[in-house]
Structure formats: structure tokens, C-alpha cells
Symmetry: C2
Subunit: 284 residues, 2 copies
Amino acid sequence: METQILKGAPVAAAMNETMKADTAALKEKGIVPTLAVLRVGARADDLSYERGAMKRAAAVGIEVRNVVLPEDVDGDTFFRTLEELNEDASVHGILMFRPLPKHLDGEKARQMLVPSKDVDGCTDGSLAGVFTNTSLGFAPCTAQAAMEILHYYGIPVSGLRAAVIGRSLVIGRPVAMMLMHENATVTVCHTRTKDVPAVTREADLVIAASGQMESVGREYLREGQIVIDVGIGWNEEKQKLCGDVRFEEAEGLVSALTPVPGGVGSVTTAVLCRHVVDAAMKCG
Amino acid sequence: METQILKGAPVAAAMNETMKADTAALKEKGIVPTLAVLRVGARADDLSYERGAMKRAAAVGIEVRNVVLPEDVDGDTFFRTLEELNEDASVHGILMFRPLPKHLDGEKARQMLVPSKDVDGCTDGSLAGVFTNTSLGFAPCTAQAAMEILHYYGIPVSGLRAAVIGRSLVIGRPVAMMLMHENATVTVCHTRTKDVPAVTREADLVIAASGQMESVGREYLREGQIVIDVGIGWNEEKQKLCGDVRFEEAEGLVSALTPVPGGVGSVTTAVLCRHVVDAAMKCG
């Protein structure tokens, strides 16, 4: 069976076009959608994500304000900075890199961030919104990126049985809720699930989000499935980026599959930017 | 096969004993756990629940403050009353009957209630706590009552496959999350699920919470299952209270089953009181 490869690039490109139109309309009203990126120190993965987000933001007309604090910043300075960004009406979204260094209270920071600017979906307000299906805050970007791919490729979710592997707050739990809100019948698998392959084989749609590289092989899958691979990690042996799914075992078996890289990950920053534009539109 | 009937009364009785000890200890510190019951008008089901809650509260040493406003109370008065209860340090929990009359903004009221006093688990703070598995606010009482029954009867949830029928915010979604936090593998079924009996027959544990009276019959069930019936309604034809499960079809087939009445419903006010005591203990 030929497997449709669900690439992220056209999804992001379509989102870009809509955002460009929206930012142009906002600018006519004198509003420049602005994302503050709050980073403490200079971790490699933060820097890499920041570069991707800044590139995407520039392409769609979002201004980025980089707020960089030293690794050893004191708590007072950090929380004052966050509070100022909360209160600054010219900032529409705040991307706060986490985890914060150990000497800063990460939980306090998460609680302090106002849900209306929580474009990365990490506050309780945003998570309550995902749970209750209201527009309080914003969904976590990766979870929404998986949904955007399904929408773009016209894959109707309603009535499908879906299996989500992984129950994290950044992807497993929120994507399960988002699928349920679109009328899928969702099962969440996790480390304590007895027979994950038995569950996933029953599903029409599999979301692989355990973060266990190449853990999902042929025995988890069957013909006709749609598989969204949320994992991404560096495979030392193969010397390349790999997802949670063994791509070569899934290809040719399932109906549709996202690649890694070039799948969900390539849509995540587009979702982040979409949230900034949405936040700015609420002010306009 | 003989079916164990999981009655609620011994569960509530055990909870009462613990609460009595806790309220006695609090009183030695000069703290009287206090529940404010905020009711607008006099709907029959509100009055019935209020009577049950007051009786339970009296039995365990919780003081109840009844705040009754007329059906046509104006918004200013209602919201000022709620705000005063939020701010009153001698009130530990607030039970606000909903839905409110149409001329009052129910969503605003729900948002205004402080999560630390939200003993009925209706605010976004409480719901975020259920989703993230933190002790922010309180779980909805009925969802927790189902869990209390499982705990009391020593039914280990970890590793089980569970099917929840219904996705409401008062029971289906929160109980699904609570089961998942205890390591069950949970599937949520709803009106758009294609073959609910096929899903529930796979499960070891079935939570019937669709609110469709006597909708769950033999074809949904199999030997060895544990069945928790959350439904309760008046069956005109039979002239008695019935649950979502056809009791006579489940009895003799499944391993364990909650009755209606006398099952989940009889534990709900004990959970409400437990929350009030917990809220008071946080102040002590």
C-alpha cells in the first residue's frame, strides 16, 4: 500500500499566508503583533527553537523582542521582568523557555504568566482551556501542530478511534482532549499500559508522543491507519534525526504518516506565531 | 457469576469517621470548617442536594452557612455576595448551585469563585488541577466519588483498561483524567463514538456516565468487569430511581457493580464535605 507522507511544510506555508494577511490588517490599525522571547542563559535547544521562531515571525510580520537574562539572574530580577512583560500592552505573546535554572521557581513563573499572553500553552489557564474546550489561553503548540496537519490534509477526525501514546502535558494529554473535542474516541496509552500494540492496532489514528525514539514498529500498526509522529531525537547510530516511529516499518503499511524531520516539528513555530497574531487580534 | 454490589454507604461511613477526627483536631486549633451554600431561588433538585449536604455536614462537624438569594436577585447583589464569601476567611468552601437564573452571568460567577474554596470543582482552576494532576482547587465531587468507591473496595486501577461513557465536565472528562493519573488506560466514549459496546466490552472497568437512563445493557458488558454507574434518574414506567446501567442485565454477569440508588450518589456529599475539611486544614 502506498503511504501518503504528510509533510509539515505546506501546512506551515498555508498558515503563513493567512498570518501575513492578518498582520497586514492589524498594522493598518496601528497594531504590530509582538512576541517577547524570555530566555535565561543560552541552552542549545532554546537557541535553536528561538532561531526558528524568529525566522518564522519575521516572515509573517511579527515583531520579536528578545529578553535575555544571565544564567545566574536573581529571582527578583527575573520575576520583575516577567511581570513587566505581562503588563506591557505592546507585547501580545510571551514565550518563556523552560525549564528555568534550578534557583528560579519555575512553578511560580508558570503561574505568573498571564494566560492571555501564554502563546506556548503552559499555564493552568491554557490547560484548563484545552480541557474545557474554551478559548482561555492557548493550546500547547506541538499538540496543536498535530491537529493542524490533520486539518490541512482534510483528514476527518470525527468518529475515528484514536490512540495517543504518551500522557505528557505538552502533547499527550492536550492532543487527546483536542481529538476528543473533534469527536474522536480517544485512548491514552502510557508506560503503565499493559499491551500498547494491542491498543494502537485497534485505532484508526495513532499519535506517537512518548518521546521514545523508534519505539513504534510494525507490531503497533496496521493497514489503513493515519500515523502522526510527534517524537524527534538524534539517533547516534544512524547519525540522523528520528521520530518515535520506525519510519521504514510504517511506510508501505499505513495510509498516511508524518515524516521526521519535516513533519509536526516544522509546524510548531507556525502555531506559536498564529497564537501571537490571535492574541494581537483580540486587542485590535 | 456472583456480582459484588459496591454500596456507597460504607464508603461514606468510613469517610465520615476520618472527617470527624479531622474536624475535632481543627476545632482544638479554633478552626470550625465552614461551608457556605449559595443558592438563588428554590429549585427542587438544589433543595434536595442542599438537605443531603447539610445533614452530612452536621454529622461530621462542619458548619453550614446558608446564603439564599431571591430568584430575581440583581447581578450587583449576587456578585457582591459571592465576592464577600470569597474574601471571608471564616468560610472554607463555597457550594454555588448552578445553573444560575438566566439573567445572571453564570460564566462570570464560575470564574469569580476562588479555586481554593471551590469545593464542588467547577472553576477553571479546579479543572486545570484535575487535568495536570496537581492540588489546585478540587475535583468535581461525583467524579471523585467514583474513585473513592474503587479505593474503598480495594480495586486496583493501575494497568486496567477503562472505558468512560460520557465526556461531561462534571464527570466523564475528570474521571477519565483521575483514572489515567492512577495508571489506567482510559478510553472516553461519547455520542459520536461509532460502536460504544465494542469499546466497553474491551474494558476491565466501565464508568457509565452518559446520563442516558438504562442505556447500558448486556451487550455493553462481559464477565469479570467492574461497573460504576454514575447515572441517576426517575424511571416513570418503573416508578423508581434508575441508573445508566440496566441493573438486572449486569447483575450476575459482571464482577462488581454499584447500585442506583445507594451507589455513587451516596458518596458525593461525603466528598463535598471532605473538600471543606481539606480546605480548612490548609488554613490550619
